[in-house]
Symmetry: C2
Subunit: 341 residues, 2 copies
DNA sequence: GAATCGCCCCAAACCGCTTTGGATACCGCA
DNA sequence: TGCGGTATCCAAAGCGGTTTGGGGCGATTC
């Protein structure tokens, strides 16, 4: 069942039927209803491929996932972001196309998307320091929204980010207020922009209290259980071990917790831990009472909002949009006063 | 730069240029090279939208992710499967379109995909007992491959699955061989087909040794850290507590481990644990030496293979294909002889 | 009563490619 | 010399929609 056939069944021209279905004014209201009814009755859905060619719009947005030989972006945070963005796309009848490509083909992929015209815009994931993708996408001329920010980018661009600096600053201050001075940072990889911001927030809080950040208490690694465990274990073995941990993710936090348990330390009493909680749907920080005290910001909501920004940008190409989200500090059972005042 | 323009620059017809680029024989080899060179020089990429309309193929496959009010399919396993499938699609110039839809709109989504024609086939995720999607997709007439199997389905269909039953049977036998008799099963939700198969494998192993499965040692819940912890804690509090655990996933396993540590039990010595390891890229079961003894099967590889099966099915619609993968039993540090012989 | 105006509708062009059905030129061969 | 065959290319008709540029007709205006 296509437009032409539907039109002939109705004794109308394809033009009129198309207009009736798309809400154009130059069609009698009675006719429109007749068309609508017939479309429903015959289960007519316009062919997406034809619409796309005729309108010149892809009605789709791309997410490029570089699959690296070295570091994986395919991480649990990504899954939830995608889920959030996908909800927005579905609501707006857009398709989400995911391209999983070797990281050395990322540039070619973006250029190809533009010239092949299979997407109207893209979301940029996991920006790095001086991320080259921003200049690239400007050059290519594809609307885009960055999830996060790229320190060092000279060109303006649209982004949505969590205030990572402030979140970690507040978390550190909270620990300081509890009397902790030996506060460890178990950070993500520091070529990732968000990790840099978190470190600066942490350092700022310490410095403001006259505490010099101790490199021995700072680690930067992948946000896995293993890496979290490894970092915490090393730090706990120090002669002047930390009394508190600031940890980059829920998963890292589980590794840290394992190290604490191995060391016979009780979380919340002997030692404090604050994690950053992306509020992942399948990895909740506790049921009702949070396990970890946390800086929380739903990455799923971020996905929803970033997608909305992008669709808006595609619909009316205007000035760049920015949106900075604040994380909330959630009180859990993993923090308490410093046992060694 | 489009085909027509490229053709006129070359002094050729669009027909010839199209044929030259697509490798058809009815074009002079010298001409073909001239065309190829010009295409490269002018950075010509055929418009995807036009190709799709002209050929009637979408060059895309769909993955429908129902986002439930009740249970989430957006889980970490899903992310890795997608990554694997995406690699296959990229290699074959197919797009992957993800549809995140409320679960009550799943049927409408599949039907819409067919009539709107934006995908050539779909992958079905997380099949349930008597999954209605199989009959639906038969009805709709969209090629599909199921990741897993749906017990109770009457129609034939293509699938790729891990031999979950045998994996859990072997794991249970391994524990039995170590002298364990009180073996607990921390399973996933049992409306999921794979969870049912795992349970039957577990039960079969016990029954074969004359041990009646004890309902108190069997739990079925979401595969989260929290749920794993909850289940293990409950079982450890039993008067006749288990000496070994068979656990559905890496994440559940982390919850189980937490419960063990709380109970002061050392994994591998006081108590044994075997998990199922999907070999997730960001949640490895240890670096070189596995943390957990595990039944391992890469879900990423599964994604790659399922996608290949689907593309094959689309290219040459033939008989259904099935593929059953065996999990390997990986020796880790979490198992040992039963301390209470 | 003629000119003007809206309201509805339609024919046809167009989006950029593929594919069918020739057309032309040149070849070898009878 | 003439004819079938082959190699090479092209014009045009699609794919299934959207959109432009009217056209017919009854109502309104002068």
């Amino acid at each position: 069942m296509n437009l032409k056939e539907l039109a002939s069944r109705l004794g109308l021209s394809p033009t009129t039927v198309s207009r009736a279905l798309n809400g154009y004014p130059e069609v009698n209201e009675a006719t429109r209803e007749r068309v609508m009814a017939a479309a429903k009755r015959h289960n007519y859905h316009p062919n997406t491929r034809a619409i796309r060619l005729a309108t010149g719009r892809a009605m789709a947005v791309g997410h490029v996932i570089p699959v690296a030989t070295r570091h994986e972006i395919v991480n649990p945070v990504f899954a939830d972001f995608i889920a959030g963005a996908g909800e927005t796309y579905s609501r707006n009848d857009y398709d989400m196309v995911l391209s999983v490509v070797p990281d050395d083909q990322e540039e070619a992929t973006y250029r190809g998307m533009k010239s092949k015209g299979n997407v109207d815009g893209v979301i940029v994931h996991a920006p790095k320091l001086n991320d080259p993708r921003i200049a690239l996408l400007h050059d290519v001329g594809l609307p885009f929204v960055v999830h996060g920010r790229a320190t060092g980018a000279t060109l303006p661009y649209s982004w949505l980010d969590v205030n990572n600096r402030r979140a970690f600053q507040r978390a550190a201050e909270f620990l300081l207020d509890l009397g902790h001075t030996r506060i460890a940072l178990v950070n993500g990889l520091e070529f990732m922009d968000f990790a840099i911001r978190r470190r600066t927030g942490y350092e700022a809080a310490l410095s403001a209290r006259g505490i010099a950040p101790d490199p021995a208490l700072m680690s930067s690694d992948e946000m896995t259980e293993i890496a979290g465990h490894r970092a915490a274990r090393r730090m706990l073995a120090l002669p002047d071990r930390p009394t508190a941990f600031l940890v980059a993710s829920m998963i890292s936090g589980m590794g840290v917790r394992r190290a604490l348990e191995e060391a016979g330390l009780q979380m919340g009493r002997d030692i404090s831990v604050i994690i950053h909680d992306d509020d992942l749907s399948y990895m909740k920080n506790g049921d009702d009472v949070p396990i970890f005290t946390a800086t929380r910001s739903s990455v799923r909501d971020a996905g929803r909002m970033a997608a909305e920004m992008l669709l808006d940008l595609i619909a009316n190409p205007g000035p760049d949009q920015q949106r900075l989200l604040e994380a909330e500090l959630i009180m859990g059972q993993s923090t308490g006063p410093c046992p060694r005042p």
